[in-house]
C-alpha cells in the first residue's frame, strides 16, 4: 500500500510503538493510585512521556495534560475561555473540532482571513477583528485540507498585545513544525498523539498556560477528600484512569520524532508536497499550492474526487477526498461543492511512494 493520508493519522506506526504498548499492558497498573511496583511503573512511564513532551514543546512537565485526543483538548480549552455570546476570531481554515464547540457554546464566530497562503490577509483580518472587539482567538497552525501554515507566532503576539486569550490547534503541525509553547504565549495548545507524534489513536496532549475547566470530573489520585477538582495542573484536566498503553505508545512515538528531528521531518514533507503538486499540475489537475505550505496539499482531478480516491484505493493508494471535516476551509477556497482530494505526507513518506501514486493517478485518469 502507498499511504498518503498522514493528515488523518500517521501510518504505519514505528514498530517501537506497538512494543511499548504491549510492555505497558503486561507491566503497568494504574498510575498515581498506589505505591506498589506496577502502579509506580505506570507512573514512571506517564511522567517520562510528560517530560518528553515538555522538552519537545518547551513547557513544564505539569503543563502537559493527557487527553483522549486533540478534539477533547480543544473542547477543554474552548470551554475554559469562551462563554456564550462571546466574539471569537477564527481563521477561514478551521476544522469542525474548533467550529462545532464554538457553535455549541453560541459564540459569535468571526471568520477572519479566508485567502489561502496569504499571511498578509490572515494578519490584517485578525487585527481588524481585534479592533472590533474579538474576545478570544482559536487558530489552527496548519490547515488539514490545504496545508496552509498560518502565522501563529504573529497571531499570538497580537493576542498578547490586546490581552485576548489564544488557543492553538496543533493537530496538523505537531511533529513537523517546531512549537515553542513558552515563547508562543498561547493559553492552550491542543495536540493529537496519533498524527505527527506517531503514537496510537486515543491519546493526545493539551499544553496549558492557563488552568483549564475540566470537561470530565472524577478521581485524580490526589486530594481525595476534596470534592472539587484539584486546582492545579495536570490533575485538574486528568480525571479518571489514564490511557497508560496509549501513553506508552506515544512515548515511543516521541522518541522516534526526536531521533528523526522535527525540522527534518517537516522539510522532507514539504519537499515531497511541492514535488507532488508540480507533478499533479503537469497531469492537468488543479492544485492548491502556495508559500507557507506544509506537507499537505489538495487538488481537483479531472473527474470526481470520490470516484478517483475509490479507484486509487483499489490500486492500493490511500488518500482522502471530500470535505475533511473542514467545510469552512472548503468554503474559503471555493471547493465546498466539489470537495478536494488531499495528499498528506508523513515521517515515512518517500519519493518512491510519490512516484507510485502519480503513476496510479495517471492510469486512473486515462480510464
Amino acid at each position: 500500500m502507498i499511504y498518503l493520508d498522514h493528515g488523518a493519522t500517521s501510518f504505519p506506526k514505528p514498530a517501537a510503538v506497538a512494543r511499548a504498548m504491549a510492555w505497558a499492558l503486561g507491566r503497568c497498573a494504574n498510575p498515581g493510585r498506589g505505591g506498589y511496583a506496577p502502579s509506580m511503573a505506570a507512573a514512571r512511564l506517564v511522567y517520562r512521556c510528560r517530560e518528553q513532551a515538555s522538552r519537545l514543546f518547551s513547557c513544564l512537565p505539569e503543563q502537559v495534560v493527557f487527553t483522549p485526543g486533540c478534539t477533547q483538548g480543544l473542547n477543554m480549552a474552548i470551554r475554559t475561555l469562551v462563554k456564550p455570546g462571546m466574539t471569537v476570531a477564527i481563521s477561514g481554515f478551521e476544522h469542525n473540532a474548533v467550529t462545532r464547540p464554538l457553535h455549541a457554546l453560541n459564540a459569535r464566530v468571526r471568520v477572519c482571513g479566508r485567502r489561502l497562503f496569504d499571511w498578509e490577509d490572515t494578519l490584517a483580518e485578525f487585527q481588524r477583528a481585534l479592533e472590533q472587539g474579538a474576545q478570544a482567538a482559536v487558530y489552527t497552525c496548519a490547515s488539514n485540507v490545504f496545508g496552509y501554515i498560518l502565522p501563529v507566532r504573529e497571531l499570538a503576539r497580537l493576542c498578547g498585545r490586546w490581552g485576548v486569550p489564544f488557543i492553538l490547534d496543533a493537530a496538523q503541525s505537531a511533529g513537523s513544525i517546531p512549537l515553542d509553547f513558552a515563547d508562543l504565549g498561547a493559553d492552550f495548545a491542543a495536540i493529537p498523539g496519533h498524527k505527527g507524534l506517531l503514537g496510537p489513536q486515543g491519546v493526545g496532549l493539551l499544553l496549558c498556560k492557563t488552568l483549564p475547566e475540566p470537561l470530565v470530573y472524577g478521581g485524580t489520585g490526589s486530594e481525595s477528600e476534596n470534592q472539587e477538582m484539584p486546582p492545579y495542573l495536570p490533575d485538574r484536566g486528568e480525571a479518571g484512569t489514564m490511557n497508560v498503553p496509549g501513553i506508552a505508545g506515544l512515548s515511543a512515538g516521541l522518541e522516534t520524532v526526536n531521533r528523526l528531528g522535527v525540522e527534518a521531518i517537516g522539510a522532507k514533507e514539504r519537499a515531497l508536497c511541492r514535488e507532488c503538486g508540480e507533478a499533479l499540475e503537469d497531469l492537468g489537475c488543479r492544485v492548491f499550492l502556495g508559500p507557507h505550505q506544509g506537507g499537505t496539499l489538495s487538488f481537483l482531478p479531472k473527474g470526481d474526487c470520490e470516484e478517483l480516491t475509490s479507484a486509487l484505493a483499489d490500486r492500493g493508494i490511500a488518500l482522502r477526498s471530500g470535505l475533511h471535516c473542514s467545510p469552512l476551509a472548503h468554503k474559503s477556497a471555493g471547493t465546498l461543492e466539489s470537495g478536494t482530494v488531499r495528499v498528506s505526507f508523513g515521517y515515512n513518506s518517500g519519493r518512491e511512494q510519490l512516484g507510485g501514486f502519480l503513476r496510479a493517478l495517471e492510469n486512473s485518469q486515462k480510464i
Binding site: Y47, R50, P61, S222, S224, E225, Y232
Partner: protein
C-alpha cells in the same frame, strides 16, 4: 539516621521534584504518602536522608515545585513536621 519526607499534592509534582533532585545528585525515593502525613487524602512524597533535606527543599523552591510539608520520622517512629 533519621529520614525526611517532603509531601506533595500530586504525583506529578513529586516526580518533577525527584527528577530535579536527581540532577543535583540528591537521591530521593518516591513513595505513597503514609496516612499520618496526609492532609487531604491520597498523595505522594519524597523520602531522603537528613543531610539532603535542606538542599532539596531549596532546589524545589527555586524551581517552583509546589510541595506541602516536610516531616521527619523520629527514631521512636513518631512523625513531626519540620520547618526548614
Amino acid at each position: 539516621m533519621r529520614s525526611y519526607f517532603v509531601t506533595f499534592r500530586s504525583i506529578t509534582f513529586a516526580q518533577r521534584g525527584q527528577s530535579l533532585l536527581a540532577l543535583n545528585n540528591i537521591d530521593a525515593a518516591l513513595l505513597r504518602t503514609p496516612k499520618w502525613m496526609q492532609e487531604r487524602g491520597c498523595g505522594y512524597c519524597l523520602k531522603m536522608k537528613q543531610e539532603q533535606a535542606w538542599p532539596a527543599v531549596q532546589i524545589l523552591q527555586e524551581n517552583k515545585v509546589n510541595f506541602n510539608k516536610v516531616y521527619v520520622q523520629r527514631e521512636n517512629g513518631e512523625p513531626q513536621e519540620v520547618k526548614l
